[in-house]
Symmetry: C2
Subunit: 506 residues, 2 copies
Amino acid sequence: MSTTATFSALNPATEQSITGVFPQHTHQDVDLAAKAAQEIAKSYRQTSPAQRSRLLQAIADCLEEQREAIVERANLESALPLARLNGELSRTTAQLRLFADVVEGGLWQEAIFDTANPNREPLPKADIRRQNIAIGPVAVFGASNFPLAFSTAGGDTASALAAGCPVIVKGHPAHPGTSEIVAQCIAKALKSLELPQAIFTLLQGTTHELGQSVVIHPAIKAVGFTGSIHGGRALFDLAQGRPEPIPFYGELGASNPVFILPKRMELHSQSLAEEYLLSMNMGCGQFCTKPAVVFVTKGNETEQFLQTVRQGIAAQQGQTMLTCGIKRNYLEQSEKRAQQQGLTRTQSTPEQGVPAILFETTSNDWRNNPQWQEEIFGPQSIVVVCENDQDMLELSQSLEGSLTATIHAEQDDYQSAQRLISELEEIAGRIVFNGWPTGVEVSYAMVHGGPYPASTMPASTSVGAEAIKRWLRPVAYQSIPEALLPDALKTSNPLNVRRSVDGKTA
Amino acid sequence: MSTTATFSALNPATEQSITGVFPQHTHQDVDLAAKAAQEIAKSYRQTSPAQRSRLLQAIADCLEEQREAIVERANLESALPLARLNGELSRTTAQLRLFADVVEGGLWQEAIFDTANPNREPLPKADIRRQNIAIGPVAVFGASNFPLAFSTAGGDTASALAAGCPVIVKGHPAHPGTSEIVAQCIAKALKSLELPQAIFTLLQGTTHELGQSVVIHPAIKAVGFTGSIHGGRALFDLAQGRPEPIPFYGELGASNPVFILPKRMELHSQSLAEEYLLSMNMGCGQFCTKPAVVFVTKGNETEQFLQTVRQGIAAQQGQTMLTCGIKRNYLEQSEKRAQQQGLTRTQSTPEQGVPAILFETTSNDWRNNPQWQEEIFGPQSIVVVCENDQDMLELSQSLEGSLTATIHAEQDDYQSAQRLISELEEIAGRIVFNGWPTGVEVSYAMVHGGPYPASTMPASTSVGAEAIKRWLRPVAYQSIPEALLPDALKTSNPLNVRRSVDGKTA
C-alpha cells in the first residue's frame, strides 16, 4: 500500500490517545484494493458453498481465539462495557455461523426452472433455469456503535462473503485497533483455506474522502452502510450519481415508536416504566433500535408511569459515549431541543459521562413539531401524552419510516391494536408486541430495515438470513446443455439445491 | 380532473393526426390521482389474494372483449402490424393471468417463521414471523415499443396490482388512444368487483414535466420504467434525489451481444445468417432484446455468413418506425456512426420506411471504439470479426450490462463456451444458448434485467413471475398473538401460504 500518514485511536473515557498507529489509506489504496477484488471476484464467486461456509467458520473460530484481545481493545476504543462486548463478539461469531448454514442450505440461490415444451403453439417453449449469483465486490462501512457485530466482520461482511462477494471494509475511525485485529483473523482464515487475500481488505482512515472514493470506484458493485442520516445520505447520493449507479444498502436511523394502550398501562404501569428505562438507556442509548418516542394515553396509571420514568431518569448513572464527537452532538442537539416550546425535560446529573434525558409533550405539540421525530443519538426519549386511543391512532399515521414499531396491549386493547398494526406495517420493518425494540435477533425471519430513512432500500434487511440477498442478482440460462450449466442448475443437482419448477416448489 | 388542454396522436405511417383528443394532464391531476391512490392504498393492500386474482382476470377478460378495437387503434398509433399486435395482446392477457396465479400461489409473500424458545440462555428467543407486503402506490411509464405488453395494462401494472399496489400509469404519448381503451377495461374490471377506481389512474400528456411530477410525488413509493437511457436516467435521478428516495425499476437499453463460436459457424453459417436477419429486423429492430452486436471468428464460413447477411440486409423491405422522433433519431445516429472510421456499412434502400443497416468491423477497431456498444434503436446491428476464440473471449470481458447475452456453440466449442458463460453471467440477466435473444418468455424463471444500463436495479426482473417482488417489502411481526397476526402468518394458515420454519421449508 502507498500509505505513509497514520492516525491513532482516542479513548472516549479519558479523551487520550491509545497506543498504536494505523495507516491513513488514500484513494490509491482504494484503487489497488478494488482492482485486486475485481481480479479475483469471478473465482471467488465460483467457489463452492461448502468452501465459503468453511471460510465463515474459520473466521468465527479465529475471532473466538482472539476474544480477549478483541474485547479489551474494543472496550478501550468504544467505552462499551466488557460484558456487552463479550456478548457482541458472541453475536458476531453466531452471525458468521448462521451465514455458513445459509450458504450451504442453498435457498439463497432461488433456483427456479421452466420446463421446455417443444410442441407448444404458436411458439415452442424453452428450458429456462434461473439462479442468483454474487453481484461483485462489495464495500462495507463499519459502524461506531457496534465495533464487532456491524463492523469489520459484522453482518454485512458475513453476508457478502457468504454470497460470494469480495469485501472492502472502510473501518470506522473510532475503533481502528479492533478493526485491525478482526481483519487479521479474516486474513488468517483466508490463508488457512488457501483463498486469495484480495477477497477481503480493510481500509482505515479519518477522512470523508476515503469512504467517498470507495463508493465511487467502478469495481465496487454494492455498498452496505450503517450510520447517520447525514453521512449515509451523502454516500447514497454518490452511489446513485455514478455513471453506473449501484445498490446502496444504508440503515440511517429510526425513532422506533412505542404505543402503550390504556388497559396495558392500567395493569403494568410500573414494569412498563422500568423496561422503558432499560431499553432507552441500554448502551448509552446508542442503539439504532432505541425507543426514541413513546405514545401513551391520559390517565392516572399513565401519571404513575411517568412518575417512575422521571425518577428513573433522574437517578441514571452517567455512561460514556462512543466518541467525543457523538457526545458533543448529543449534548448540543438535546440542548437545542430542550429550548423548544411544548417540551418538559427531566434529566440526570451524573458526575461522569452524559446525562439521560426524558422529554414529555402532548399530542397537540407533537403534531406541530414534526422535527421531533428526528432521532437524537444517545440516552434521550420523548413521551407523547395522547387524549385517547383515537388520538394515538391518528399520530401513528404521520410517522417517518422506522426500523421498528412497538405495541403494548391487553385483550381489551385489541381493537385499537389491530388498527395500529395495519398503520405501523406501512412505516416499520418490524412490529414488536408487548416487548421493547432493542435486541435484534439474528435469525431467519428478522427484518432490520423499513421505509426511508430506516433503510435506503426498503425491500431489504441488514440483519438475519435474508440479508444475503442484498449481494445477489438473478441470471436466467436458456436452453443451456447440462454440461455447461452451473452446478446449482444441473438436472443432476450435485449441490442438492432446492428448486421450484413451473411455479411449484418440489 | 383539472385539465383543459388536449393533444392528438400521430399516425407514424402517414405523419397525420388520428381522430380523437386526449387530455394534457397537469401536476394538479398527478396530485389528485396520487392522493386518491394513497387514500385507498391500505384497503387495497389488504384485499385477499383471491380478490386481486379476480381483478387481474377481469381485466384480461375485458381486454379480450375489446381485442379488435385495441389492436386496430394500436396499429394506427404504432404502425406495428396487426398480427404482431394480436400476439402482443395475447401476451398481455397471459401475463395478467400468470400474475393472477402468482398472487393466489402465495410464494410472493415469502412467509418465514422463527420458532420461539422461552428457555434459551442468556436470553429467551421470540416468535418472529415475516411476510412481504405491498410497498404503496406505484408509478408505471408506458413504453413506446410495446403499446400493450409494456404499457397501460402491461407487466409492470399487472405485477403491481397483483402485489396489492395502486397504480398510476403515465401513458406513452405515442399511443394515447390505445392507452385509453385499455384504461377503460381496467376501470370496468374494478367496477365489476366493486373496488375503488383510485386503484388505477391513467395520466396522459406530451410533456416531460408530467412524468417528472409523478416521480417526485411523495405518495408514490416505487416506479417502473421501460425506455431510453437518456429519459430513464433523468427520471431515475429524480427518484433518488427525493427527500425520501424510492426504488426506480428502469430498463434502459442493452446491446444483447451474440457470440458465434467456430464449429457452430462451420456447420450452420446459412441458418445463422437467416436467423440473425429475422431477429435484428423483427418489429423494425425496436425490441429491447435486439442483437445489436454479433461476435464471430475469422474464416471461410464466416465470410459466407457475412455474405448472406449483407444480401439479406440489402433486400430488406422498409418498415415504419413507432414515431417520427424515433425514426429521426435512428437515421441521425446511424448516419453519425457510419461516418466513423473502422466500420463498413451495408444497407437496404426501401421506397417507404427506414433502411436496415449492417455494420462490420474488426475486433481491433471495436476495442478502440467503446461508444459502439451504445444501442441504436432500430434495424441496425454490428458484426465484429475476431481473430479467434481467445480474442472473442477477451472482448466479452469489456461489455456493458445487458438484458441478454447469446452463445452459439457445438460440442467442439464447449471449452470456449464454458469460459464465455462465466464471463457473460457478470454482464447479462439472461444467457441464451443456440438461439436468439428476441422473444422474452413470460414465465417463472425469466430474468429480464441485468447490470446497468440493462436495469437500474440489477437484482430485479421486469418480466416473469418474480417481477412482483419489485413492489413488495418485508415486515417482521414479533410475539404478536394469533388474533392480531395478518392472515398469511396465522398459525391456522387460512390462506394456505407456504412457509419456511427455522431455515427449513416444510
